[in-house]
């Protein structure tokens, strides 16, 4: 096929995917924005300004604290020998498998009215508890981003700086900080949006402090506050806009997809003892102690439980969620591969547009997406061809399965797309051109050049998508009834009743399953990629 024909085919392939995205995401978002403006015009949202101010302050505090602690932990880890560093990575990384509501429940189990240390700790309900839980829940993101970003730091550079008399603070400022600027900026922005749009920690710990995301959650489940919910959804999306503007003006995928540097640990950094290094170590010990206390308290709560930790309803919920997550992966993976393939071949401008749209979808707060979808498809939708039945909630088409699948697929497609695009970019253009001149066909190029380089990344992304779908809270909780067979909805229902022990048990089972499913998906993807690569 000629190059022009390939380009046309690629563009044609993007059309149905784009149309689907427009119907399933674009239209709900536009409709939601319209409702938000109408609500703003009628000024029917009393007290929302105060709630927005409180939420913004809370998210800023959490972002700063999580970033500082992430830096301290990452610096300490990088100065450790490889084995203890891996242990460090495992402990902090494992927190990614713990949903935010479970962290909040652990905070209550430690310092709540009936908590193990209630007598010696101040009241955890309200801002203090929310800050603590959000920092712990978001810490691994900052930590892992910094750890990955520091892989490019050459220890010889640090050594050279020290030989020239630089102190630890100067090494940090001149050598270690520069590679962090872009990734840390983006990560801080994402953490801010993530904390702002999380309804689950406030659901457990808010006390009498209202937050934007939890208010939207109540508006949605109480039915009737559609104007307020849509206005909040728009407010939650606003912080993403400057980030999107930066990305549009500087379309480097590495800002979001950290460069893949293959396997192997980075060499240990030897930093001289200094107040900075010692402070980082002290903070790291404190954080690890806190995580340990939270985990041990959760464990003892389960051990002392007077109720059955695992119920038949819980088993049904877990099986159902696993099913949804895997089906969503089966839908999202080919769609992401398709859009990445088409973007590469449809020309530079189309590729830039497609990448940007995928990034927009990825960065859009899941709470905003959930509210938009709830408002658009919560009830039947009139169309020129008749009424489309309601897609949200237990009483809708397929008992709400359509909405839940869309909720899982929508954020997963951009992840796969960006992973494949990053994989494509890892294959040097000159190498591809040379292979082409030497007579390699497209199939051979893909199988023998692109796949072996991108395979590990694609496998890791597939595993991450499966894990994310099982653990994620939003947008699922906006699209399911309290006793819908979804882990997040079920857990929030348990926590509404202060059933902490069962929540910990549910989280433990899910963590084991996510690890197993993630490993299986990664192994399966790697096996497929490896087999193809050897053809």
């Amino acid at each position: 096929m000629t190059e022009r024909g390939t380009r046309l085919m690629a563009r044609a392939a993007l059309v149905p995917v784009g149309a689907g995205a427009l119907i399933l995401v674009g239209w709900p978002v536009v409709r939601m924005a319209t409702q938000a403006f109408a609500a703003l015009a009628t000024a029917s949202t009393p007290g929302l300004g105060r709630t927005a101010a409180v939420s913004t302050g809370l998210s800023l505090t959490v972002t700063v604290l999580a970033t500082v602690l992430g830096l301290a932990l990452a610096l300490t880890a990088r100065t450790l020998p490889i084995r203890p560093r891996r242990l460090f990575d495992a402990v902090i990384g494992a927190l990614l498998l713990v949903p935010p509501y479970t962290v909040a429940a652990a905070v209550v189990a430690v310092g709540g009215r009936g908590g193990r240390f209630a007598a010696v700790l101040p009241d955890v309900y309200g801002l203090p508890g929310m800050v603590l839980a959000m920092v712990v829940a978001h810490l691994p993101i900052a930590y892992l981003v910094i750890r990955v970003a520091w892989r490019v730091v050459d220890p010889h550079l640090v050594e050279m700086a020290r030989v020239h008399g630089a102190r630890a603070g100067e090494v940090f400022r001149l050598v270690l900080l520069p590679p962090l600027r872009a990734p840390l900026g983006v990560t801080a922005a994402l953490m801010f949006v993530s904390t702002l749009s999380d309804p689950s920690i406030p659901a457990v710990l808010r006390g009498r402090v209202p937050t934007l995301a939890h208010t939207a959650y109540i508006e949605v489940i109480a039915w009737g506050g559609e104007g307020t919910a849509s206005l909040i959804a728009v407010l939650l999306a606003l912080p993403v806009l400057p980030l999107l503007l930066v990305l549009w003006r500087r379309p480097e995928p590495s800002l979001l997809v950290t460069r893949w540097l293959g396997r192997g640990a980075s060499p240990t950094l030897a930093l001289p003892s200094s107040p900075l290094v010692n402070a980082c170590r002290a903070l790291s010990v404190l954080v690890l102690a806190l995580v340990l206390v939270l985990m041990l308290t959760a464990g003892t709560s389960m051990a002392r439980a007077q109720v059955a930790l695992v119920t038949p309803a819980m088993r049904a919920v877990i099986i159902s969620t696993l099913g949804y997550a895997l089906v969503a992966l089966l839908i999202a993976a080919p769609l992401g591969v398709l859009t990445a393939w088409a973007s590469q071949r449809a020309g530079e401008r189309v590729a830039r547009g497609a990448d940007f749209l995928q990034v927009t979808l990825l960065l859009m707060p899941a709470t905003t997406l959930g509210i938009a979808f709830f408002l658009a498809y919560g009830l039947e939708t009139p169309t020129p061809w008749g009424d489309l039945p309601a897609l949200v909630g237990g009483a809708s088409l397929g008992s709400g399965a359509v909405a839940l699948l869309v909720a899982f697929v929508a954020p997963a497609v951009p992840l796969v797309h960006l992973a494949v695009r990053a994989g494509q970019q890892r294959t040097p253009q000159a190498l591809q051109e040379t292979a082409r001149v030497l007579g390699a066909g497209r199939r051979r190029l893909a199988l023998q050049l692109v796949l072996p380089r991108a395979g590990a990344l694609v496998a890791a992304t597939a595993a991450a998508v499966a894990a994310r779908n099982i653990v994620s809270v939003v947008p699922v909780v906006f699209l399911s009834t309290p006793d819908a067979p979804m882990v997040a909805s079920f857990a929030l229902d348990l926590l509404d009743r202060a059933s902490f022990e069962q929540t910990f048990a549910l989280t433990g089972i899910i963590a084991v399953l996510v690890t197993a499913v993630g490993a299986a998906v990664a192994a399966a993807s790697a096996a497929v990629v490896g087999r193809r690569g050897s053809l």
């Binding site: 109480a222 039915w223 506050g225 397929g398 008992s399 309290p482 229902d493 509404d496």
Partner: protein
């Protein structure tokens, strides 16, 4: 030519296939089976399941059960007019049923069993009937109160004891019929202005509002609060499970809910729906919820310990207003709660 995964056609086909598999798997859950009854249930999950199981055992008909909170259920029924999904709405306060009946969303049906339900607990047109009731009460934790050095609250004013600040658990009246009953009672007890002043003070004592009306008892059981505002059967059920809690009906006035059942307009399985109503109104139906461990009060006059008997013997100081009045004040009170308390 061998189809390749790189081909957009193959990928699109794969996606379509996956979608077909998914929708094919899930569409069978719909209420189109001939011997089924589709029930929208607005009560505790265990009670809903107990009702469904007892009906299936009696009639042989399968029950498609979807549980939705009362307010969401009404909204779903309201907006689903013309595309009926359910046959029956079972559970939830009668206030919502009054609204639904006024809007023509319910199909009147006078069951032979209706004769046993006193007039004041059912709609005169037969649109809905009360099938259970519960009395509003405090569920207190004696050890929790002892730790706070607080007395057991016996009146509503006792709840304003400074020692109980942050120790009262109640649901949000926006999501819970239980909490709205407690809210409306204060207006009946004290009048509009003084009632709102009292509510503002009471809500100042609340730790945080739960979503479900049955949750506050569990909050107390887990020692996160010392007093819960709830319907008495949920506290009694916790006590029967061995938890150290006590039910206290306030001396200065309480109220009760009437949980209702109704056939929905344009019910897809009309015959099955009428059978279900016959069952729900029967003595067997009214007792079947107790299989869940939660013992609610029957509305049938031939069941011992029924609601009319309890109201007549004066053991509870009931002072609630008529249903129609409660329905009328609902939107305004909830608007006040959202603006003045919640945010």
């Amino acid at each position: 030519m061998t189809p390749s995964l790189r081909s957009p056609c193959a990928l699109t086909a794969l996606v379509v296939l996956a979608l077909l598999v998914v929708t094919g798997c899930t569409a069978a859950d719909g209420p189109a089976e001939r011997d089924e009854v589709a029930v929208l249930c607005s009560n505790d999950a265990e009670i809903c399941r107990a009702w469904a199981a007892a009906f299936t055992e009696r009639s042989g008909r399968d029950v498609t059960l979807v549980r939705l909170p009362t307010s969401e259920a009404l909204e779903r029924i309201r907006r689903g007019e013309g595309l009926p999904e359910f046959d029956i709405w079972h559970g939830g306060g009668a206030e919502m049923y009054v609204e639904a009946a006024e809007e023509g969303l319910l199909a009147p049906y006078t069951s032979p069993e209706t004769a046993a339900i006193p007039d004041e607990f059912r709609d005169p047109e037969g649109s809905w009937s009360g099938v259970y009731s519960s009395m509003l009460a405090f569920c207190v934790s004696p050890p929790g109160l002892a730790a706070l050095d607080a007395q057991t609250p016996r009146t509503w004013d006792d709840l304003l004891d400074p020692a109980l600040t942050g120790q009262v658990s109640t649901a949000s009246p926006r999501t819970s019929g239980t909490a709205f009953t407690a809210m409306s009672l204060q207006i009946d007890r004290l009048g509009d202005e003084a009632g709102r002043d009292y509510l503002a003070a009471l809500y100042g004592q609340v730790l945080q509002f739960t979503r479900s009306g049955t949750a506050p008892v569990q909050v107390v059981v887990h020692d996160e609060a010392a007093v819960a505002l709830t319907f008495a059967p949920y506290c009694e059920a916790a006590r029967a499970e061995g938890h150290d809690v006590e039910t206290v009906v306030p001396h200065d006035g309480t109220d009760y809910e009437i949980g209702a059942v109704a056939v929905l307009a344009d019910a897809p399985h009309a015959r099955g729906a009428r059978e279900y109503i016959d069952f729900a109104l029967s003595a067997e139906g009214q007792r079947s919820g107790a299989d869940s461990g939660i013992h609610q009060i029957a509305t049938r006059s031939d069941v011992p310990g029924n609601l009319a008997e309890i109201l007549a013997d004066g053991r509870y100081p009931v002072i609630g207003s008529p249903l129609a009045e409660r329905v009328e004040r609902r939107d305004e009170l909830l608007g006040w709660f959202t603006a003045e308390v919640e945010r």
